[in-house]
């Protein structure tokens, strides 16, 4: 009997040991869901003569086409103008002081007759109005009083007779793929549209035209530019907001159409430029240029560390030696504190690569090192916090590993917002053959929720990613994208090169492109920036005060700039040619500036004047 007891005890001990070993190797796993944030109205930061009027009501749209795309204008102005004011339609009770007023479609629909009258008065006193898809109530401004038919059929820009864009920019503008709704306007009601007032033609109908009113101008858009831009930038889901794909969705599945999957042209930005520069031609105004230190483009190199440890930072060593900081997206738990600190001190942007299903799951184990029977899944916030703890500092940049996306159009944005990721780099080429401006732009934008409000995470789309297989892309495409970003389109381009691809899918093109881009960027004086540094400049410039007054009689543009303190130079961008003439003289703080030594944009539309932070007066004489 005693022997039997001993045997039982021994067997039990063995059983417990076996169970322990089993649990250690196959711990009990607890899953964890990601929290979801909400879209919200952004704060008014800067001040300028540009006012965006937004609708008051924010309701969840039932279908994609019903979404209020007004915040696409917010993105547009952030990208090209810099500081601007925002106001709700309900706050408009009398003439507004702004020199450029933007009224998106939903705002136009919601405004009362009194408010329309107030806007009309503002224009008559000299303001410029950009009006999107106006209702007949706006007839006094648009000269279209009848109910025009709305259509959502496939549309093509057929002509841009008086677009400020010329040459290749105009040719490409006409190739812009459009997903939008259109007001069919064949003629104006009460007058003939002058030959130089038609700016854009869509399927033979008037799509964008200029009309003088009093001392000001009205620019009417007969299509929903906000939708056109959002469908391109944020991607186009099904009307039900679903991403329709058999496989688990990836960022590449959001791309609006086939043409954009291998695309060297930032079509969305050409459309924005056309609209803004048309207004600027009639009424000169300053912008704050989106690149620091007078640069005309930016290269943002992004490396995910994947499964590798500190050895991947060899790449960072080289970049540091070249004075080229990049963005590193770290996998939680893979790197030493020392390495991270050294990268942080070298001004690299350290972010997190979020491993979530279907790409994978990361777990925290609980227990001593020899026995860890329980493992808890790390959600996005946990992973970000783990990296922040190791780093000892906050992080703002995130990316979903594998550029994985949700079937729901905006769910991942909500999750990223909840994890307090201010910048997301998930939008990137994911399939073989994909490259370029898949989302029509290289600039960051705030994604729009189905209620029309923006989610507080800037999406920064990439133009190249080794995940799409560099060997499947046209030769020299990286060089081409970089040089065109600098010499033609003035874009930031994000290039993703995972540090472990040389182990998993090696090709000589990865290091060749990496080194070639750094070399070319330095040669062409492209700003090699981290995502954080780019956004730092981008958001600081939105906090600036940039007011202006144009005097048609004297043809003088007075600009007052109050620029937040920064360790970089801002750049004031001024229209070179307007209907009042070309820039003849320029004074900065009452000192004459030789306009011939200043850089211009490749299309010749803007003159770039670098200025330090602080207060400045700029005076421009047109002639």
């Amino acid at each position: 009997m005693k022997r039997f007891k001993v045997d039982i005890i021994i067997l039990l001990i063995l059983l417990v040991l076996c169970l322990g070993a089993l649990l250690h190797h196959f711990p009990i796993r607890f899953s964890s869901e990601d929290a979801a944030g909400t879209a919200m109205m952004p704060q008014q930061l800067g001040q300028s003569g540009v006012l965006l009027i937004l609708p008051d009501r924010n309701e969840n749209a039932r279908a994609y086409t019903d979404v209020d795309f007004s915040f696409a204008w917010y993105n547009l102005l952030s990208q090209y103008v810099g500081p601007f004011g925002i106001a709700l339609a309900s706050s408009i009770s009398g003439p507004v002081q702004a020199q450029l007023i933007v009224v998106p479609q939903k705002t136009a629909e919601s405004m009362t007759e009194t408010q329309i009258q107030a806007i009309t008065q503002s224009v008559q006193r000299g303001a410029t109005l950009i009006l999107e898809m106006p209702t007949p109530e706006w007839g006094a401004l648009t000269a279209v009083k009848r109910n025009a038919k709305t259509s959502a059929a496939i549309k093509h820009l057929t002509d841009a007779p008086n677009s400020p864009l010329a040459g290749i920019w105009r040719d490409q503008l006409l190739n812009t793929p459009l997903d939008t709704q259109v007001l069919r306007i064949d003629t104006l009601d009460s007058e003939t549209l002058p030959g130089d007032a038609l700016l854009l033609e869509l399927d033979g109908a008037i799509a964008h035209y200029r009309r003088p009113l009093g001392s000001g101008f009205v620019f009417t858009l007969a299509f929903n530019l906000g939708q056109a831009l959002t469908s391109m930038q944020q991607g186009r889901p099904a009307d039900s907001f679903e991403i329709e794909t058999d496989e688990p969705p990836v960022a590449g599945d959001l791309v609006m159409n086939e043409k954009l999957r291998a695309n060297k042209v930032p079509y969305a930005d050409l459309l924005k430029l056309h609209v803004l520069m048309s207004a600027q031609y009639a009424s000169p105004m300053p912008f704050l240029w989106p690149f620091a230190d007078g640069r005309r483009s930016a290269l943002l190199l992004v490396h995910e560390t994947g499964g590798m440890g500190d050895e991947v930072f060899r790449m960072a060593e080289y970049e540091q030696a070249q004075d080229a900081q990049s963005t590193w997206l770290l996998t939680a738990g893979k790197h030493s504190k020392k390495s991270l600190e050294s990268l942080k001190n070298a001004r690299f942007d350290l972010g997190v690569s979020l491993v979530r299903p279907p790409t994978g799951r990361l777990y925290d184990t609980y227990g001593p090192s020899f026995f860890a029977p329980v493992a808890g899944e790390r959600n996005m916030e946990d992973q970000k916090n783990a990296v922040m703890r190791r780093l000892g500092a906050g992080i703002s940049t995130c990316k979903l590993a594998g550029s994985a996306w949700s079937y729901d159009y905006t769910l991942n944005f909500r999750k990223l917002a909840a994890a307090q990721c201010q910048i997301d780099l998930t939008y990137a080429p994911t399939q073989p053959g994909q490259f370029g401006y898949l989302f029509g732009t290289g600039f960051p934008f705030l994604p729009i929720e189905r209620n029309g409000l923006p989610l507080p995470t800037y999406e920064f789309p990439s133009v190249l990613s080794d995940a799409a297989g560099f060997e499947t892309l046209p030769a020299k495409i990286a060089d081409e994208l970089l040089s065109e970003a600098e010499q033609t389109y003035h874009q930031p381009i994000v290039v993703q090169m995972n540090a472990d691809t040389m182990l998993t899918h090696p090709t000589y093109l990865i290091p060749e492109i990496w080194l070639g881009l750094i070399r070319a960027a330095k040669e062409q004086q492209v700003w090699i920036a981290t995502a954080k540094a780019f956004m730092h400049h981008y958001t600081l410039r939105k906090q600036a005060h940039l007011t202006h007054a144009f005097h048609p009689q004297t043809k003088v543009l007075d600009v007052k700039a109050e620029l937040p303190k920064a360790n970089f130079m801002y750049t004031v961008a001024l229209p070179r040619r307007t209907m009042h003439g070309a820039i003849h003289d320029l004074w900065l703080d009452r000192q004459a500036v030789d306009i011939n030594v200043l850089k211009t944009t490749a299309d010749g539309l803007l003159l770039l004047l670098p200025v330090t932070s602080g207060d400045h007066l700029v005076q421009v004489q047109y002639n």
Binding site: Y318, T504, P511
Partner: protein, 622 residues
């Protein structure tokens, strides 16, 4: 029981089998050539006890094939039956230069204007036109004079300690009316003397031993390799020299002999050793080290500019079918990265057991590794080349070669210079056929790797110097080796940039970037080609005298060139003509050829392009 089984799964028994060995074999060559090399296989010591007792006569074959191309090789037994009128130069190696019965035949060859080279001749052959040899055989110390060789080359050769590398035949005094070309320790060891219409060139030192010691390395006298590096294994770098590695000393000697000495008594026409008349070759190899498909990116890059390389992979192969196809599509040559003495660290092993229970692991010997790899490769893909992992070698001087011969390899790139002293550690960049202890040759071309691990910019700078020297004077084969996994594991930009710069530099310096297989095939084409020349005196249309080298040659491949001397005594090179067929003996051929001048360690040559197939060429000197 379960514990015991689990223990053996984690600590399996190792089952090892030895490879077969195949000793060096005798070679006979009957080619259409101006040169006849004679060795006496009967005089070779089959089992010498000491390294110096080995017969090194076959080392001459390395020199002649490397520098000239086609050469006939005859065993002494057949000498009296051979028709010498087919040849312009007779080389009697040390083993075959003591046959007094050959005297009449040699004399008659000389009387017809032939050139005879004799290595340490004895007896009546020595009396023909060589010094008396009364000083006997002595240990050599240093080279003291080389005619026409100066500057840094001479300095490097003079610094070479010859004490264990060769012996000299001393004489009571210099030979009257002879021209001394080379001295060792002040003793004339290469000299020539006219005899009737011909010339006798005496090589009074063991040239074969010196060449073999330089190229193949000098073991200890008992054929064991000294562990110079002090590592746990014997490595090929233990055989390398660490001084004067910037100069291919063996090649300087060989070219001195062919272009400096021999060319003075007879115009030597040689096949240029590089494809398309380029100035050198860069042989690129990669070590796969179990990386599998992930190792193919380097050959894929090379394919973009039509270069090739050899990728040495371990067996069992880690490639997927797709990866292997990609490798072959890039035209890279697959080779075996073998473990010569497989142990627990070796990749070349396979489990023996059931399912995942493997208490025994069988280590695969080189033969099994080779057989296994051949079975995986497509039918028409040859497995020709091998390389030892980490350069680990057999402790015996030639056992590793015997193993490779038994496994059927025809080329090897295990010889590598130390990483900390890259360069001509084996005194040459050209491949050579190793000699077994029995004096016979292995039918294997050994490609010494000059730069075994190129990862740093400083190494690339050194390579740039080698390429520059090769373009201008050395005209060498430079072998480099890379590891594709190195950059992936440790992504240093310098590693990648260094790798890419190598190709750029090679192109800039007109070097053929190629694989071992391609160079092997090109070499074989040179060796198996036909090359017959004669010199005639003619008059041109202005009745001016001129000398013409008439060349008839068969080029088996496209892109082959021959070299001819820029000067023929006092006659200067004027023109090269080609014709489909020689119709009239008295006139020169019709079509003028575009030629190019090159300098080989200062020996000025003219490169003449050939078309694939038969070529009749007249080289005119005025």
């Amino acid at each position: 029981m379960i514990s015991v089984l689990a223990y053996f799964c984690f600590h399996p028994w190792i089952w090892r089998t030895d490879s077969h060995q195949t000793a060096g074999a005798s070679v006979l060559l009957d080619t259409t050539s101006d040169f006849l090399l004679v060795v006496d296989y009967g005089a070779f010591a089959a089992t010498p006890e000491q390294y110096p007792e080995t017969s090194f006569s076959l080392a001459w074959l390395n020199t002649l094939q490397q520098e000239i191309g086609p050469v006939s090789l005859l065993d002494a037994q057949q000498f009296l039956d051979v028709d010498l009128s087919k040849y312009r130069c007779l080389i009697l190696t040390r083993s075959a230069s003591g046959h007094s019965t050959w005297l009449p035949k040699v004399r008659s060859f000389l009387e017809r204007g032939g050139t005879v080279v004799m290595e340490m001749p004895e007896g009546e052959l020595r009396a023909l036109a060589s010094a008396d040899g009364k000083g006997g055989i002595r240990q050599a110390q240093n080279i003291t004079y080389l005619s026409g060789v100066g500057g840094e080359y001479m300095e490097a050769l003079a610094g070479l300690n010859l004490s264990n590398m060769t012996q000299i035949a001393g004489s009571a005094g210099p030979l009257d009316e002879s021209t001394t070309w080379m001295t060792i320790d002040g003793v004339p060891v290469v000299y020539s003397k006219s005899y009737a219409l011909g010339t006798v060139i005496t090589v009074d030192f063991n040239y074969g031993m010196l060449l073999t010691s330089l190229q193949q390395g000098r073991p200890m006298d008992d054929f064991k390799i000294r562990n110079v590096t002090g590592t746990s294994d014997i490595e090929t770098m233990d055989l390398a020299v660490r001084e004067h590695v910037a100069f291919p000393l063996a090649d300087i000697l060989e070219r001195f002999l062919i272009y400096g000495v021999l060319n003075e008594s007879m115009p030597v026409v040689t096949f240029w050793p590089f494809f398309d008349g380029l100035d050198g070759a860069l042989i690129v190899s990669h070590r796969e080290e179990g990386l599998g498909d992930a190792a193919v990116w380097m050959p894929e890059y090379e394919a973009t500019f039509k270069a090739t390389s050899t990728l040495f992979a371990t067996y069992p192969l880690a490639f997927s079918d797709e990866g292997l196809e990609k490798l072959l599509q890039s035209h890279a040559e697959p080779g075996l990265l073998f473990d010569i003495q497989a142990d627990e660290r070796s990749r070349a092993k396979e489990p023996v057991g059931l399912f995942k229970f493997s208490p025994v692991w069988r280590l695969l010997n080189v033969e099994e590794q080779a057989e296994g790899m051949k079975a995986v490769l497509p039918e028409k893909t040859p497995l020709l080349s091998a390389q030892s992992r980490d350069g680990i070698w057999h402790a015996h001087y030639t056992h590793a070669f015997r193993t490779l011969a038994s496994a059927g390899f025809r080329a090897d790139a295990s010889y590598r210079s130390p990483s900390d002293a890259p360069g001509y550690g084996f005194s040459t960049g050209f491949p050579f056929m190793p000699i077994d202890t029995n004096g016979q040759m292995f039918n294997i071309l050994e490609f010494p790797v000059l730069f075994p691990d190129m990862t740093e910019a400083a190494q690339a700078e050194v390579l740039a110097q080698y390429l520059t020297a090769s373009e201008k004077a050395h005209h060498e084969v430079i072998s480099v080796s890379f590891e594709p996994g190195a950059f992936a594991r440790d992504p240093k930009a310098e590693t990648f940039e260094t790798w890419q710069s190598v190709y750029r530099m090679a192109s800039e310096h007109r070097h053929w970037i190629t694989s071992i297989l391609s160079y092997f095939r090109f070499s074989r084409a040179r060796f198996s080609s036909e090359l017959k020349t004669r010199v005639v005196e003619m008059s041109n249309s202005h009745n001016k005298k001129m000398q013409v080298i008439r060349i008839e040659t068969l080029a088996p491949e496209a892109g082959m060139y021959v070299t001819v001397p820029k000067k023929l005594g006092t006659w200067n090179y004027s023109d090269t003509r080609r014709g489909v067929q020689r119709v009239r003996e008295e006139g020169v051929l019709a079509d003028s050829l575009q030629t190019r001048q090159v300098s080989l360690f200062g020996y000025e040559r003219v490169l003449v392009p050939l078309t694939k197939g038969f070529n009749a060429i007249d080289v005119i000197y005025e």
